[in-house]
Each structure stands twice: as C-alpha cells, then as structure tokens.
Amino acid sequence: MRYLNIASPVEDNELIQGCLRQDRKYQEAVFRRYAGKLMVVSLRYARHRMEAEDILQDAFIRIFDHFDQFQGKGSLEGWMRRIVVNTALKNIDKKSFTNEIIGLETTAEDASGALPSVFSQLHEEELLQLIQQLPDGYRIVFNMYAIEGYSHAEISALLGIQESTSRSQLVKARKMLQSQILESQKVAV
C-alpha cells in the first residue's frame, strides 16, 4: 500500500485547503484518513461489500468534484458522511417501502426496554452484518434514524414516504435486529 509524503498529523484545515486546490496528494490524504470510517457508512446502507465499494467510490468522486461546496460550517467528516448517505440513497428502490401499511401505528416501547447484557458483548463486525441482513426498507430507515440521527419528518421528505411508514419500518427493524441477536446467542449457546 502506498503512503503519502505528507507529514503526519495533518490538520483538517490543511487537507481542506489542499483539496480546494485539487491537489492530488491532499485528496489521497483525505481518502486515507476517512475511507475506513466512510466504508462503514457505506456498508450499513449496502447489501454487500461490492455494492458498498461502488457507493464509496461514487461518493469520493462527488466529494472531490464538489469540494468547493464544503462551507466549513461543520466537520469535514460530517459533510463527507452526508454525501456517502445521499449517494447510497440514490440507489435505493422505492419498492423497498411499498410493502408497508401506510399509517400503521406501532408501540414506542417495542425496543425501548433495557437490553440483555449479551447485546453489549457483540462486536462491531457482527452489528454491521446484522444491519446488512435487514430488508432494504428497514435497513435504510434504521440507519437514517438510529445512527445518522434524521427525524421521521426528514426521512419522509428525503425518501418520499409517509412518516408513518418511516416509523413502522423503524420499529420492525428494531424488532428484527433484537430477534436476530437473540437467535444468534441461542445458537452460540
């Protein structure tokens, strides 16, 4: 693997200035610094690793092509994460949500109770696999709400679905994750 000839550590500001100049050394430095974290974001939305790499590649192309649009209001990482998420959302199929009953009300306490201790013993890689095994609609809404922090109103606007659909997908995703975790523990025992 090749490494950059840039003194480490390099501040984000320096990387930003370099990328604004379209300097390839700094672009590579940004890639090396954030590709691992952004790969996790991409993997959460994708069904498999190959799709995740395609999403990440498209996202980095957009990032470097539109670097001048980074206004510095938030962190560079946050801005890049949003681009990865938006790139992933471009590839989703609306049919992922059509099986849901619009207006289905679900109880809020479905996943609000204390988790069994086995949950916290799960490794990151296992959690990632659990997310990837979710159906598309569940996976996308769970990622956006639980991890990215979007509200149901925002998810509704971004995905073009009813808020109630978003809520129901989230609850079902949580239930499915819980049952999968418990199931895997039974197998392990």
Partner: protein
C-alpha cells in the same frame, strides 16, 4: 435529537468510530474514474454572456465604419465642417472662394470636403503622410508651393490615426468625424416591479414522484416585488449596456389539507434574492415614444429563504437559511438567469423619462440544494415601472 433507544444507542456507539479497510485498488479506481470524466460542462449562460459581449464590442467598432453616412448626416455627433477649421492669423486668411473656381486638385479631395470648402483655412505643418491640397483661387501658381492657406485631406483615413505625429494632436479639432469616438450617454433607471412567479418541482428520481406531485399541489402561485437600480450607457443609435443591482422578495403560501379534510393549515414563506443584471438593449424612437428590446443575464449574488414546507406526512420542515440546523433545501447562490424585456419610455421632463418594461426571466438551474431530492425551477414575469434619468451630457469613451 431522536428519542433514545438502547438498541439504537448500541449500534450508534459501536459503529460511529468503527473502521473497515477498503480494497487496495479503490483509490486507483477513484482516480481513474475522475480522469475519465468529461470536462466540466460549460455553464448554460456562458454562450449568452459571450454573445452579448461580442455583440456589444462589434457594435462599438462597427460604428466607425459608418463614415459616409455620418459625414452626410447632421447628427449631433458632427460639428459643422467649418468648425473644424480655425484661422491662424487674420492676415493669412484667404478670401472666400467664388463658386466655380476651384483648385485643379479639387477632384482629389475626399468626398467629405466636396460640399463646402472652408472660407477660412488653417495652416497645418506639412507631413509626408498628408496629401497637401492648395487653394489656388486667389493666389498665384508660384505661391501654390508654399504652405500658406493650405488645408489637408486625408487620403488614407484608416492608417492616418497611427501615423499622425504627436504634435498634430493639438489639431485634433481638424479631424473629420471618423476620427471621433462615438458619443455615449449615461442613464440611470429606478424601477419597481410586481412579478408573478411560476415554479415547478420535479423529482430527481422516480422514487420521489409522489412527493413532488404533493408539493406542486400544495404550493400556490407566488408573487414577488422587486426594486432595481440600473446604470447604463447608450449610443444615439439606441444600442446600450446596462448593469446595476436588483433586490427581489418573493412570497409563497403553502396550504396543507389533511387527507380527511378535517384540518387545513398554511405556511407563509419568503425568498429574497439579490441579482446583478447585465443587459444589452436596442432602442428605437417612434415619435415621442421610445421602444426597445432588452436581453441579458441576471447573476445571483444571494438567495435567502425563510419558512417551512410540509413533508408528505404533514410535518413542517423548516428551511430558513439563517437558522442553524434548518434543513438546507435550497442553494445560497443561484447562478445566472436569462432576461428578456421590452422597454417603453416617454420623455416627461428635462432628461427624465417615464418607463415601463414588461419582462420574462427564467432561472434555468434548479434552486434546490444539490443533495435535495426535488429540483425546483423558477420563471418570473412582470412589469417594471419607473424613471430613467440622463446623467449630464453625452461623452466620449477614452
């Protein structure tokens, strides 16, 4: 922040700092894909701007080729031919030339001098580049070779400008019309307008078609008010360039009807824009009325928004640009828009005109943020009403 769920927290905590290595060739693939990308698209308004500038430049220089017609006309740009000549000394002033007694060289004189020979002639230092013509009517052939009472014709007007000796610049008043720069007039416009705005929302992907339809149904016709100050220069022939600044404030009302029709709520939004117009005009007089065509571009300097729109589920999503944390649904700068209008003006006082200009303007690039799922395009139509004031007298550009 969303309500905490232990399960959500678990995933968020464990995955937020987790990293997965990418394949070794991903960076190379990214570089390869970027290298293969076509060159950046030329902005849609660039050809328009270049054409406008070329047209303006052509018009400016084209006027210098209108020599014959200008020489024969009596436009404001010409002085009487006699005024190009000034006496040097009273004793050297030749007597008026009787009709029919012209010089044998008179046929060589440029047409511009044919109509009326000057009653008085200035003495000009002889120069190789200037053909010397002697008025011999009241002087002998022997004196014909002297430099007294001579005046010049310019056989090679196109090249004389470059070869004219520096000391001749003091005789610039002698130069005929072609050597004059074009006369320009500076004018300032103060305009108010009532605009009607039409916008269309389209989904970037079929996934959001239903949402775009919903938004199109919710948003009614918008009304905008604008104030513009334009400075411009124009020629007597009516060609002009104008630029300045324009502030517009657009109001919008969104109406949400809950599906069971039990509730009806509204949201009032405002959008403010600051634009710099760059307009090429051509005007023509019809009696007192002066009418013209205006074409150009508006370059947007700022676009501020305040308000909310509804999500498909009926929740308000605030997009106020000055509010941190609001949803960034719109761009902060909108690029260029195309402008076309028909200007009508009538003089109402000393250097003052009342003017009206119906216009249409299209903001072709989407006003939506790049990452937003809908594309919103805007068209304006309206009527500018105001005053045009000429500043000072005509002037020559350097």
């Amino acid at each position: 922040m969303n309500p905490k769920s232990p399960l959500d927290e678990l995933f968020r905590r464990k995955l937020s700092h987790y990293e997965v290595p990418t394949s070794d060739d991903l960076w190379d693939n990214i570089q390869l894909a970027r290298a293969k990308k076509p060159s950046p698209r030329i902005p849609f308004w660039a050809p328009w701007l270049v054409t406008s500038l070329c047209l303006a430049t052509f018009i400016y220089f084209y006027q210098d080729f209108l020599i014959p017609s200008q020489a024969e006309s009596t436009s404001l740009e010409e002085k009487p031919l006699q005024s190009h000549f000034t006496p040097k000394m009273g004793s050297e002033i030749p007597k008026p030339i009787p009709l029919g007694k012209t010089s044998t060289h008179s046929k060589k004189v440029a047409p511009i001098f044919n109509n009326s020979l000057p009653p008085q002639a200035a003495i000009i230092p002889i120069n190789d580049d200037i053909e010397q013509v002697t008025n011999t009517t009241n002087i002998t052939d022997q004196t014909e070779q002297t430099s007294e009472s001579t005046f010049t014709s310019f056989t090679n007007i196109a090249t004389l400008d470059a070869t004219l000796p520096h000391e001749l610049s003091m005789y610039s008043e002698l130069l005929p019309v072609p050597f004059k720069k074009k006369l320009w007039f500076a004018k300032i416009d103060f305009l108010l307008s009532q605009d009607f705005v039409h916008s269309s929302l389209t989904a970037k992907t079929p996934l959001f078609d239903a949402y775009s339809t919903l938004r199109n149904n919710q948003e009614n016709l918008k009304v905008s008010n604008s104030f513009a100050v334009r400075m411009g220069i124009s020629t007597l022939k009516g060609w002009g360039l104008r630029s300045g600044i324009q502030y517009s404030r657009m109001s919008q009302t969104l109406t949400l009807i809950i599906p069971d029709a039990s509730q009806r709520t509204t949201s009032k939004n405002t959008f403010e824009t600051i634009d710099i117009p760059l307009i090429l005009t051509k005007e023509q007089s019809f009696g007192k009325l002066r009418a013209g065509l205006s074409l150009g571009t508006y370059l947007n300097m700022a676009f501020n928004q305040k308000g909310s729109f509804y999500s498909p589920g009926g929740a308000l999503i605030e997009f106020t640009s000055s509010k941190p944390g609001a949803y960034p649904a719109f761009k902060n700068r909108l690029g260029a828009s195309l402008y076309s209008g028909i200007s009508l003006s009538i003089p109402i006082g000393n250097s003052l005109e009342f003017m009206a200009e119906p216009y249409v303007r299209s903001r072709i690039p989407s006003v939506s943020a790049e990452d937003y799922v809908l594309e919103q395009k805007i068209w304006y139509g309206g009527l500018f009403i105001g005053f045009r004031k000429q500043i000072g007298k005509g002037f020559y550009l350097p």
